[in-house]
């Protein structure tokens, strides 16, 4: 009887730990848009327990602002790119306030800017007091110029 109770408690604790590890991490959101004909798309990669990571498709030469929240703006957000030659990441200074919790306080928006430098794939790692997130970044080359179209002969 006691063994069965302990077993159940351990299972609940494991589930809670998994939820804490996977589901209760900062949320990322795009804060700008790509210019026409170029890509800047941030997608969440979801698993059974929620968002596992993020993926970002970015055209070469395009920049995208990405904010980090966890019930409010992330605290002490820092970001690093595994390969700065493919995708560069810089701290963004967004002069807006976002609500924190339910007590009416507000904090400055925490954000970074990701810049597509050259075609390739790399990972950007974001760390904050609330947890860490990875963004798998794929930088795609710009589309080739359209070929001349014959409209009449």
């Amino acid at each position: 009887m006691i063994g069965r109770t302990l077993h159940r408690f351990a299972a609940v604790a494991a589930v809670a730990s998994l939820v804490a590890l996977t589901g209760c991490l900062p949320t990322l959101a795009a804060e700008s848009i790509a210019p026409p004909g170029r890509a800047a798309r941030l997608d969440a990669v979801s698993g059974f327990w929620g968002v596992k990571s993020y993926r970002l498709e970015l055209s070469q030469g395009v920049a995208l602002a990405v904010s980090c929240t966890y019930g409010g703006p992330c605290e002490k957000l820092v970001a690093k790119s595994d390969d700065m030659a493919i995708a560069e990441v810089r701290a963004a200074s967004l002069q807006t306030l976002r609500p924190v919790g339910y007590m009416g306080n507000q904090q400055p928006t925490a954000a970074v800017v990701v810049v597509g430098k050259a075609p390739g794939t790399t990972t950007i790692r974001l760390h904050s007091n609330e947890g860490s997130r990875d963004i798998r970044v794929t930088v795609v080359p710009p589309p080739p110029p359209p070929a001349a179209v014959t409209v009449a002969r």
Binding site: P35, S59, G61, V62, S93, Q106, T109
Partner: protein
């Protein structure tokens, strides 16, 4: 003074209401206004005098012509602060480079120009397009397009400004356009401090053709000087 780009984005109403809405609907404010920087905190326009109708300030978002320079005027609209000392950086210098504070267009394409503070944090960014020149037209300084021959009396002068185009798209940027005349004598081609603009001074009766060229692209206008 030209209207600031950000002006169109400001809702009418109390500041408190605006700040409240900014808090509640940040994504609408960050994506709803289509002009200025992508983060809606800075503007990047051309350096022009207020009465210069042909200046690129009228076309602040036009692509920059390959081989030309664009001299930007960057400012921010941040509550509670004047514009901090800002730096410009290009995401892809092969397309557009930043040299001595000017944007230099090298290759067709698009590149983000990052506007950052001294500590490197990004205040805003603008995607700048670069396009090749396919046509040059001439206009008077007040912007009126030259479509036929110009007649001048001796002593009279007229200022001509070349406009760069890619098809129907007006391009921005100052290029070192070459000005030549078929017959020397009737008209003097005078510089007026601008890289591309010229003042034609009628000197003696006669006819000539003035040609302005930027690389292989040319435009010409016939000028007749009468007594």
């Amino acid at each position: 003074m030209a209207a600031r780009i950000g002006d169109e984005c400001k809702p009418v109403g109390g500041i408190a209401f605006v700040e409240h809405m900014r808090t509640l609907l940040p994504s609408i404010f960050l994506t709803g206004c289509g002009l200025g920087g992508a983060m809606h905190q800075a503007t990047l326009v051309g350096q022009c005098s207020a009465d210069d109708a042909a200046c690129s300030r009228r076309h602040p978002q036009a692509p920059i012509a390959i081989g030309t320079h664009f001299y930007p005027d960057v400012s921010t609209e941040l509550a509670g602060t004047t514009t901090p000392n800002l730096r410009l950086e290009s995401a892809v210098p092969d397309v557009v480079a930043v040299e001595d504070g000017a944007l230099v267009a090298h290759k067709a394409g698009a590149s983000a120009v990052l506007i950052s503070t001294d500590d490197g944090s990004i205040v805003d960014f603008v995607h700048v397009w670069v396009a090749p020149v396919t046509k040059i037209t001439l206009a008077r300084r007040d912007g009126e397009r030259i479509t036929s021959a110009i007649a001048l009396t001796v002593g009279e002068d007229v200022t001509l400004v070349p406009a760069l185009w890619n098809g129907a798209q007006r391009l921005s940027g100052d290029g070192e356009a070459q000005w030549t005349e078929t017959v020397t004598g009737p008209v003097a081609i005078l510089r007026d401090g601008s890289a591309d603009r010229r003042r034609l001074r009628a000197r003696a009766p006669g006819k000539t053709t003035i040609t302005v060229a930027l690389g292989e692209i040319k435009a010409a206008v016939d000028v007749e000087v009468v007594q």
